[in-house]
Every structure is written in structure tokens, then in C-alpha cells.
């Protein structure tokens, strides 16, 4: 269980970009975080990961406090991250990128089955990551996070700027990770179709604070409930 209580984070000391966030993410569940640009979604994720300054509140992983830990320690504790944008090391090969994910968590190499999840990446494993298309780089970024065998995965807008077929493949992978591997996933996303496909619950942020919380079923029944939050 990954739990946040009264969590605040951000670069500005006086006015944290996110504050008063309470949430619980269990294994085998997907929590979507929605909100307009600038609502604090990315800062929330980065704050949990130690990549943005944590200001107050508590972050617990299986009951153990991890707030204030350094990013590498949080990663090794079992929280993987897929950053916004392409997020790969462009000069390293596909295989090296994956290996970094494994080495970071103390494994010599990633599981061979990992590349099988996206066969076209396996074919390109000796290529520099920058030679891949944008969507393939996103897939590589997800696989690299999985190479560390995390129990919780935080994804920052995986569908942004990616062609629909790749979004479809990513959605299928996320569902498999949740249902088969029982990962807990926190998904920052603006693509309502992807959210409707994979999420169990949704949290809406506005101006850095949670303003609404509902189940995916409620969202499916009344998508207009979030549309005004997202400015659609």
C-alpha cells in the first residue's frame, strides 16, 4: 500500500505546488490523477518520488515512512517511474536503457521476458534509443521502469503525443500489469479514453489541491463530471 496523508510538495517553499493530498493506492489498483495543465499533477508524482522537494505530510510504503528519502532509495524500495516526455537515455542502446533499470535495483540484467512485451523493441535492442520513434521511446521508458521490478508504478502522461496504436498497446500492458502482476499504478493522464479503460478510481487536482474523487464507473456514467475540470 502506498499512502499519502496531508502531502505537500513543490519548489516554492511558501506555496507548494500541491498540498493537502490524501490518497491510498493498493496493489492491483489503478488510480488516475486528472487535472488541467499546471494543476500540480506532475509535482505530486515527483514529490512522492523525491524528485521535487517534499514540504509536509506523510508518504508511507507498506506502513514505512519514505517521505524525505533520496530518489534512488525510493526507487529501490519498489516505486517505478515513467516520466513525462520520452524519458530515455538517448545515447544508450535499447538494451542498455533496460539494463540500467535492472542495475538500479541491484539486478545484473532485466528479465528476458521483458522485451517480449514489445517485440518490435526486441528487434531494435542494439539501436541507440534516440533512433526509436517517440511512441517506441515511451514504451522503452515503461519497460525500463519495469526492469527494476517495482510494486508500484507512477506514470506521467504516457499517452501524450503518442499515436493511438501505441496508446492501445500501453493500455493493454497496464491492464496486464495490474491484473496479472498485481502492480499498483498511479496514472497522471489527460486522455479520458485511456483513463476509462484502465483506472479504478480518479482523483482530480485543481490549483494543487484535490477537489474531487470518484470511481471509474461513475466517470464512465457521467464523463461530463470531469470535463469542466479538464477544460474540455
Amino acid at each position: 500500500m502506498l499512502a499519502l496523508t496531508g502531502f505537500a510538495a513543490g519548489w516554492h517553499r511558501g506555496v507548494p505546488a500541491v498540498q493537502d493530498v490524501d490518497l491510498e493506492l493498493a496493489e492491483g489498483r489503478v488510480l488516475a490523477v486528472l487535472g488541467r495543465n499546471g494543476a500540480g499533477k506532475t509535482t505530486l508524482v515527483k514529490g512522492v518520488l523525491g524528485l521535487a522537494p517534499w514540504r509536509s505530510g506523510i508518504v508511507r510504503l507498506d506502513g514505512r515512512r519514505i517521505d524525505g528519502w533520496r530518489p534512488e532509495r525510493i526507487a529501490r524500495a519498489g516505486i517505478g517511474f515513467v516520466p513525462q516526455g520520452r524519458g530515455v537515455f538517448p545515447g544508450l542502446t535499447v538494451e542498455e536503457n533496460l539494463r540500467l533499470g535492472a542495475l538500479g535495483s541491484g539486478r545484473r540484467r532485466p528479465e528476458p521476458a521483458l522485451l517480449a512485451r514489445f517485440p518490435h523493441l526486441f528487434e531494435r535492442r542494439d539501436r541507440p534509443a534516440e533512433a526509436l520513434s517517440g511512441g517506441e521511446q515511451r514504451q522503452l521508458s515503461i519497460l525500463r521502469a519495469l526492469a527494476g521490478r517495482p510494486r508500484f508504478l507512477l506514470l506521467d502522461e504516457p499517452s501524450e503525443g503518442v499515436q493511438p496504436t501505441i496508446v492501445e498497446a500501453v493500455a493493454a500492458l497496464l491492464l496486464e500489469l495490474v491484473e496479472v502482476d498485481r502492480l499498483g499504478i498511479l496514472l497522471v493522464e489527460q486522455d479520458l479514453d485511456l483513463v476509462l479503460r484502465v483506472a479504478h478510481e480518479c482523483l482530480v487536482l485543481e490549483d494543487g489541491r484535490p477537489v474531487d474523487w470518484f470511481s471509474a464507473a461513475e466517470l464512465a456514467a457521467r464523463p461530463q463530471r470531469v470535463e469542466h475540470y479538464l477544460g474540455l
Binding site: 538517448p90 544508450l92 539494463r99 542495475l103
Partner: protein, 338 residues
């Protein structure tokens, strides 16, 4: 893997290995000196090219190795015997210890890259040179002279390593071994980790990689290589002086590595031999104009061949993809592999 293509390295070392058969003594002595500087260049290629830490104080570790060798060979350290071999053993260890402490202080203060790092290393080099100039124990501005050479037991007494050939063979072996070890490290998973931290330390951190520890490892290891070069320098020439620690030599080393190519140890080595060789040929002729001419060459190389003269060629040959070095070189590597 980002490895150097093996053939150019083999040719390079084969040519240097055969040099004693044809080269006169004076040339061997000169090559031996340049190979010692080559160790400094290798250390800089690692710390700058691989870890992305632009170091203006690499000569500090070269010079500290040289001074430690001299102090031990002259028996100036109380409680320790006067032994050149002990000096050669301790030179890299001392430089590594110094780098570890300095690196820990800088990196813990979150000075781990960029302009602040460059300025701090520059200051360290200047301070070290001033300390040596003002310390009577270190011989002041004259440095330490009369440093005994390395010697090995021989049936007819002891054999001192003072002639060009044995010194050349020693420097050849040391530099070749360090080059081989560094090339293997760069091609290993640990080498990829180092480049990942160079390219994006935060991104590496969220994969569970500790950027501070990796940078400290490279800074310390590279200092050991420079310290070995310094120790061998003192063994070769029998003297040490403050400029061996200072900004001047550090900057010269940056020139060798930039001209050769910082993305590859072999390129850095070739850059050193070429720049020092050209300096020997043209320096006497150009006299005071030499630094200016060299400056212009560096500017031209950096603008036209950002991956270095040799680094650019190597990137086209294999697929070393020396990552951040230059977009041009990267694109070339991508073309080759596709």
C-alpha cells in the same frame, strides 16, 4: 555497448610496441614522457567524457602523485622508508584519497556538475599550486630535485631505470594496461551507468542509481590514474615542481582530450601524442606564438569536430555512440548502426 572498435586500438598499441625497434633513444624518451601525459589524458577522458565532470584540476592529482613519489623516494616522509617502488605504489593511492575527500566535499554540497563544479575544480588547482610554492617541505617554487629512479635487483648490482628503453617499456605497459582496463569498464554495465548519470542524473536516480556515489567513484578512480602518471613522471625525470599541480597543465590536458576526442580513451591518447608531438616540432619554431596557434587550433577543432579529431572517426567506424559528445557524431553512429 558503447565500446571502442578494437582494431584502431590494436594498431595504435602495435605501432607503439614496435617503436623501440626503429626509434632512436631521444624519441623513445620523448614518447615515454608523452605516454605519462597520456595517463593524465585517460583520467580526464573518463571523468569528463564519460562522467561529464569538466575538471580543471586533473593535474592536481597528477602532481600530487608525482610529489608523493618524490617525497617517498627521497625519504622525506617520517616513519616510511625511502623507496621509489613504495612511492610508485602509493602515488595513485594518495591521489585517489585526495580526490575522494575533495569530491565528497564538493558532491555532498551538491556541486556535481555545470559551471559551479568547473569553477571549484579550477580554484582547487590554483590553491594546490600555491601551497606547493610556499611549502619548504615540498621544495617551494624549485620543487624537489634529485629524486632517485626506480631500480630492480640485477646480478651485477642494481639496475636503475634511467635509460630511454626501459623507461619507455615501463610507460608503454602502464598506459596500455590502464587503457585496456578503462575500455573494458566503459563497455561494461557500470560504464553505461556512468554515462546515464552524465546524461541525466535525476532520471538515473529514479531508476535507483545513486549519482553521487557513481560520480565519486569515477572522480576517485580517474585521480588514481592521474596519480600513477605523476608518479611515473617523477620516476622518469627525477624532479617535481609546482606547475605539475597547477592550472596550466590541467588546461593543457583539456586541450589534448578535446582535440583527440573526450568520448573515447583511445582518442584522448592519440590527441595527447599528436598535440605534444606537434608542440615539439612547431613549438621551437613558433616560440611565444605557440600557445596562440594552439588556441586557434582548439577553437577550430571544437567548432568543426565537436567529438574530436579522432573521436569523430571512431564514432563512424564502430558504434561507440559517445553520447553527449556531439549531435553530429551521434547521428553518424546512428546511421552506421542502421
Amino acid at each position: 555497448m558503447s565500446r571502442e572498435p578494437p582494431l584502431p586500438a590494436l594498431v595504435f598499441w602495435a605501432v607503439l610496441g614496435l617503436a623501440p625497434l626503429v626509434a632512436p633513444g631521444w624519441l623513445l624518451a620523448q614518447l615515454a614522457q608523452h605516454l605519462g601525459y597520456g595517463l593524465l589524458a585517460l583520467s580526464l577522458a573518463w571523468v569528463w567524457g564519460q562522467a561529464g565532470l569538466l575538471s580543471f584540476c586533473q593535474a592536481l592529482f597528477f602532481g600530487s602523485g608525482a610529489y608523493l613519489f618524490a617525497l617517498l623516494a627521497l625519504g622525506r616522509i617520517p616513519g616510511l622508508p625511502d623507496s621509489p617502488w613504495l612511492g610508485l605504489l602509493c602515488a595513485p593511492l594518495f591521489s585517489a584519497l585526495l580526490a575522494f575527500l575533495l569530491g565528497l566535499a564538493l558532491l555532498s554540497a551538491r556541486i556535481g556538475s555545470g559551471a559551479a563544479w568547473a569553477v571549484m575544480t579550477l580554484v582547487l588547482g590554483v590553491i594546490a599550486e600555491r601551497v606547493a610554492v610556499t611549502s619548504p617541505w615540498l621544495g617551494g617554487s624549485n620543487g624537489l630535485v634529485g629524486v632517485p629512479p626506480l631500480a630492480v635487483p640485477w646480478p651485477s648490482g642494481t639496475f636503475e631505470l634511467v635509460d630511454p628503453l626501459p623507461l619507455y617499456l615501463l610507460l608503454f605497459a602502464a598506459t596500455a594496461l590502464v587503457h585496456l582496463a578503462l575500455a573494458r569498464h566503459i563497455a561494461s554495465p557500470a560504464g553505461a551507468l556512468v554515462r546515464a548519470v552524465r546524461d541525466d542524473a535525476l532520471r538515473a536516480a529514479h531508476l535507483g542509481i545513486d549519482p553521487l556515489r557513481l560520480r565519486l567513484f569515477v572522480f576517485t578512480g580517474a585521480a588514481a590514474i592521474a596519480g600513477l602518471g605523476g608518479g611515473l613522471f617523477a620516476a622518469q625525470f627525477g624532479f617535481v615542481a609546482p606547475p605539475l599541480l597547477g592550472l596550466g597543465l590541467s588546461t593543457e590536458a583539456l586541450v589534448w582530450v578535446a582535440v583527440g576526442g573526450r568520448g573515447s580513451p583511445l582518442a584522448a591518447l592519440v590527441g595527447t601524442l599528436v598535440v605534444k608531438g606537434v608542440e615539439e616540432l612547431l613549438g621551437r619554431w613558433l616560440e611565444a606564438w605557440w600557445p596562440l596557434a594552439m588556441g586557434l587550433v582548439v577553437v577550430a577543432v571544437v567548432l568543426a569536430f565537436p567529438a574530436g579529431l579522432v573521436g569523430g572517426l571512431l564514432a563512424r567506424r564502430g558504434r561507440p555512440v559517445p553520447a553527449d559528445v556531439a549531435g553530429g557524431a551521434r547521428r553518424a553512429a546512428v546511421r552506421t548502426s542502421s
